[in-house]
């Protein structure tokens, strides 16, 4: 199996990450030798909606923007969710066929990665008929994917020490009667994104059978074009955990 190239981008605005994903998706479609990419990052506070965005109107948009968050309509699957500091956001961007995956199996493997990660923290997490990973009745990790000609983008958002108050303003993922949680909330101690990151990579590598992952911290890069250049042209130092 091809080797994933993994990049930590630090905190990045959602709209910028979206442009980056679009560029990288195009690159994957055009370049037969493009390596599979794993972007890991955090977002500034933002509410995002998926394809069925007509279910959220201008009133919702202004109400949520007034809280100090961005509001962005996207082309991923799934309904409304929140992204913000303390949440590990992961966008795998790669050709599903290179790993012999269909969308269903791919999402199943993402769920398996998070379930194994929770187990490491001695938390019992599980799947449900609703996509994502749950601890009891509460979602700890949301998922929403877009697939274009077999290239996937968007991904997952795992609550590490996210301020869960932001979720109280919405019906997360449109699912009534269920709640949201975080690793910190479940364990009653502070679990940061930085703490979780290497463990996430380990379990991702296991589940996706990508033997070793090349990792680079790009949080000091300030422009999108810098990020794109580094990610697609591979001009960087190889750093290992």
């Amino acid at each position: 199996m091809a080797q994933f190239r993994c990049f930590y981008l630090g905190k990045i605005r959602y709209a910028n990450a979206l442009k980056l994903q679009q560029n990288l998706t195009q690159w994957q479609l055009k370049s037969p030798n493009a390596n599979p990419i794993l972007l890991m990052l955090q977002h500034d506070p933002v509410y995002t909606v998926g394809l069925r965005s007509s279910e959220y109107d201008e009133n919702d948009e202004s109400r949520l923007s007034a809280l100090g968050a961005d509001f962005v309509r996207t082309n991923r699957g799934g309904l409304i969710t929140f992204h913000g500091p303390g949440q590990l956001v992961v966008y795998p961007i790669f050709k599903l066929a290179d790993f012999k995956l269909g969308i269903r199996k791919y999402v199943c493997q993402l769920e398996a990665t998070i379930i194994a990660l929770c187990e490491r923290y001695e938390l019992e997490a599980m799947r449900s008929p609703h996509t994502g990973v749950w601890i009891g009745n509460n979602k700890v990790c949301a998922m929403g994917i877009n697939a274009r000609r077999g290239v996937t983008s968007h991904g997952l958002a795992l609550n590490c020490n996210t301020d869960l108050e932001w979720f109280n303003r919405i019906v997360p993922c449109g699912i009534h009667g269920k709640g949201v949680t975080s690793l910190s909330h479940e364990l009653s101690r502070d679990i940061t994104v930085e703490h979780v990151l290497p463990h996430f990579l380990e379990h991702f590598s296991d589940v996706f059978k990508s033997e070793s992952l090349r990792f680079n911290d790009l949080s000091d890069k300030t422009t999108l074009s810098d990020l794109c250049d580094v990610i697609t042209e591979e001009k960087f130092e190889n750093l290992n955990f």
């Binding site: 069925r52 991923r76 066929a97 012999k100 969308i103 269903r104």
Partner: protein, 175 residues
């Protein structure tokens, strides 16, 4: 409870359509009038429009071209990989599209998948049933769940498309 219909071949380009009941039994009448049942070994097959060509894209869409109008949808292989379909964004009728433009999106419980126009032309109709019953994309992807019809502006657009045999080889190579 078992039900089956056998459609007679009437032209060289059409072929038999056999529908299987949920229990998977095919019943045929024998010459002595009794019913014989046997379990088929192959999965459901799709019907096809008489006297039209059925072609495929590498992105797992089927296209049926008749009198310059291309009807298209996603294949059984595609719906199976997507999972349960919950939403379909249809193209607007009257819109001009180029081959390979994103013309529709199919969202399953797992993901939203872009659907590309297989040919250039004007969208003459969109299958409104999919707005209220997107799930028929899972149950009848190559028949009832056609997505839209395009009046082709460029007949040579069909040259790059796959015939059924090449599409089947493609699927096998992906497994």
């Amino acid at each position: 409870m078992a039900s089956a219909r056998l459609v007679n071949v009437v032209a060289s380009k059409a072929f038999k359509s056999i529908q299987y009941s949920r229990l998977g039994f095919l019943s045929i009448s024998q010459s002595n009038g009794s019913l014989k049942s046997f379990k088929p070994h192959c999965r459901r097959v799709h019907t096809t429009h008489l006297l039209s060509e059925r072609l495929f894209t590498k992105d797992h869409e089927w296209i049926s071209i008749e009198n310059g109008i291309a009807t298209f949808g996603i294949t059984d292989y595609a719906q199976e990989k997507l999972g349960e379909v919950v939403f379909c964004e249809l193209p607007e009728v009257g819109v001009e599209c180029d081959k390979d433009d994103v013309v529709a999106v199919v969202e399953s419980v797992k993901a939203a998948s872009d659907i590309f126009a297989p040919v250039s032309g004007e969208v003459t109709s969109a299958n409104e049933i999919l707005s209220t019953s997107p799930g028929i994309i899972n149950t009848s992807p190559e028949d009832e769940a056609w997505i839209a019809k395009i009046k082709m502006t460029n007949d040579s657009d069909k040259d790059g498309l796959l015939n059924e045999s090449d599409y089947k080889k493609l699927i096998v190579s992906l497994e």
